[in-house]
């Protein structure tokens, strides 16, 4: 008898992220929720997808859930294991990545991200990990998907620090900069949270696209630090299928380490 519990917020995030990957070929993966989302997509809507890990793996085929970005399970059975210079130069900057996943401590209405500090850079209130590969993924992956939980601390009017550029101050300026500076990517295309799925309007500003079945519009508004654009009739995010939930609960995260 399989688990009949309704989908949790984390599970809705994972399934909505997997749906956003339909038809994509090469995906730059992170650990945690993005990793589960990508592995779910590979088993459902994007079976041909190649998983790329910044640690230096193309075509990973992990036999267990990787616990860190450099878990040995991403190496065994992969198509290619390469140096980080090759990974960032040939694969990422060379334009071979279709979609990259990013998250952050802060995001603004244009999808710019902060993973560096909260507070002043020289005397931070909280020192965060920094860029890692995020800054170059944001610039070079053809498309960016963001996964993060909503709160007024994370969805902010103004970033404390811009680690990774999104749509800058708006789509027109961003398009100009991308062309002038030869960026390989077109920036963020979606933001998936525990409450809903967001896209970006023509002017580059974030807007709600669908509301998760377990969430309310009041919750959405109360956890975003600016007045979020909401369509007149808000569609509901599709409920995960029984098979999607089974894959998450039985195969991808059986201990509930990430999706609980």
């Amino acid at each position: 008898m399989s688990d009949q519990r309704p989908a949790s917020k984390s599970e809705l995030m994972v399934v909505a992220s997997a749906h956003a990957l339909a038809g994509r070929r090469v995906c730059f993966v992170g650990v945690g929720l993005p990793n589960i989302a990508v592995n779910l997509a590979k088993r459902t809507v994007a079976p041909e997808m190649e998983l790329v890990y910044e640690a230096g793996v193309f075509g990973a085929n992990p036999a267990r859930l990787p616990l860190s970005i450099g878990d040995p399970t991403i190496v065994t059975g992969s198509t290619a294991t390469v140096s980080m210079h090759d990974l960032f130069g040939l694969y990422l900057q060379g334009g071979r990545i279709d979609v990259g996943f990013l998250g952050g401590a802060q995001i603004d209405r244009f999808g710019n991200l902060n993973t560096t500090v909260i507070g002043d850079y020289a005397a931070p209130k909280t020192r965060l990990p920094g860029s890692g590969g995020a800054c170059e993924i944001a610039i070079n992956a053809k498309e960016i998907l963001v996964i993060m939980r909503q709160s007024t601390r994370s969805f902010v009017k103004e970033l404390d620090f811009r680690t990774s550029p999104g749509n800058l101050g708006g789509a027109a300026a961003a398009a100009k900069t991308r062309a002038a500076q030869g960026w390989g990517g077109s920036g963020p295309s979606g933001v998936i949270t525990d409450l809903g799925v967001y896209g970006f309007d023509h002017d580059g500003e974030m807007a709600l696209r669908s509301l998760h079945p377990c969430a309310t519009l009041d919750e959405v508004r109360a956890s975003i630090g600016w007045e979020i654009r909401v369509p007149q009739n808000v569609p509901l995010t599709p409920t995960p299928t029984a098979e999607e939930l089974r894959l998450i609960r039985e195969e991808l995260d059986p201990t509930g380490a990430y999706v609980s």
């Binding site: 650990v31 878990d71 190496v75 960032f88 909280t126 920094g130 590969g133 170059e136 811009r162 030869g182």
Partner: protein, 310 residues
């Protein structure tokens, strides 16, 4: 062939790591020489500039032990777990203990950090890359600058070469001449080693040169650039060595608890670093059974045929 470069860790660190040096212990999650980091702590090196893409637990421990004055990095965290708390205590003014000073910080992105080693290894004045455009990183790191293409109007960012005084790498095997073979995640071991003035190669196993020469594609660093070879089985624990042992994720999580508290961190260093003379004693202190659960089952590569041409 030159003579053997095989020495013990104490000798390698005493001879090649000096106060004030820029030290790179590289290895991306994989093959991190904790054994070397701990010996540097035991020998009480001071005022080091520690360079590493991902400082990891090894630098958190070295910072806690007072070895470092500066960090050069691209991602500062406990991978898969959270923060490096000892380093945070030296980077957040509110958390700074009395008598301590803030660490100097110089940060890049991963591509920028790799590029610094590449420029250093190639003896070039800079490494150009497309990262940093419209990021705040160049505003806080004056060493990230723009350069105009000599072939057009295009401008890209550039990072300067990084030439560590000493780079320390860990790998599966080497011969006594220092020809190092490695498989699994290669990180930037090769680039960091070629960029360095001195190289210490730490390996799980010393093999005859004939083993190296039977599979030359697997050699990442030649003995030509290696100054000392150290045999240190389990020397990368709690990180891992592909095919030999798994990452000790339980310890990475445990460190999160230990490192939140300065006194607990100091107690850990006393017990597991100052309290043991070398890595063999550290391994013995855990007991052999401890490492059995970290040993993977076998997944050998098929062998390739290089051919015999005479």
């Amino acid at each position: 062939m030159s003579g053997s470069k095989l020495v013990d860790m104490r000798t390698a660190i005493a001879e090649h790591v000096h106060d004030g040096d820029t030290v790179a212990i590289e290895g991306f999650t994989h093959c991190i020489s904790f054994a070397a980091g701990h010996e540097i702590i035991r020998q009480r090196r001071r005022n080091l500039t520690l360079a590493r893409m991902t400082p990891d637990l090894v630098y958190d421990q070295m910072v806690a032990a007072g070895c470092a004055k500066k960090l050069i990095f691209s991602w500062l965290g406990n991978p898969g777990v959270g923060s490096l708390h000892a380093i945070r205590r030296r980077t957040e003014p509110a958390a700074l203990a009395a008598g301590e000073s803030l660490l100097e910080i110089e940060e890049y992105s991963h591509h920028g950090m790799v590029g610094r080693y590449v420029a250093g290894a190639h003896r070039l004045p800079f490494y150009p890359l497309r990262s940093y455009s419209e990021s705040d990183l160049p505003n806080v790191n004056p060493l990230i600058r723009t350069v105009q293409s000599p072939f057009g109007a295009e401008e890209v960012y550039a990072v300067p070469p990084l030439n560590p005084d000493v780079t320390i790498i860990h790998a599966q095997r080497a011969d006594t001449d220092g020809n190092v073979q490695m498989w699994g995640l290669l990180g930037c071991q090769k680039e960091a080693a070629f960029a360095a003035k001195r190289v210490i190669a730490v390996v799980e196993e010393i093999v005859p040169t004939s083993v190296i020469r039977a599979d030359p594609n697997r050699t990442i660093v030649p003995g030509l650039i290696v100054h000392a070879v150290v045999r240190e089985p389990l020397g990368a624990h709690p990180s891992y060595v592909q095919g030999s042992y798994d990452r000790d994720n339980a310890f990475y999580r445990e460190w999160d608890t230990i490192s939140r508290d300065a006194a607990a961190t100091e107690a850990w260093l006393q017990e597991w670093v100052y309290g043991v003379p070398d890595r063999a004693a550290y391994v013995a202190k855990f007991g052999a059974d401890y490492f059995t659960r970290l040993t993977p089952t076998s997944a050998p590569s098929g062998s390739v045929d290089y051919g015999d041409y005479r």
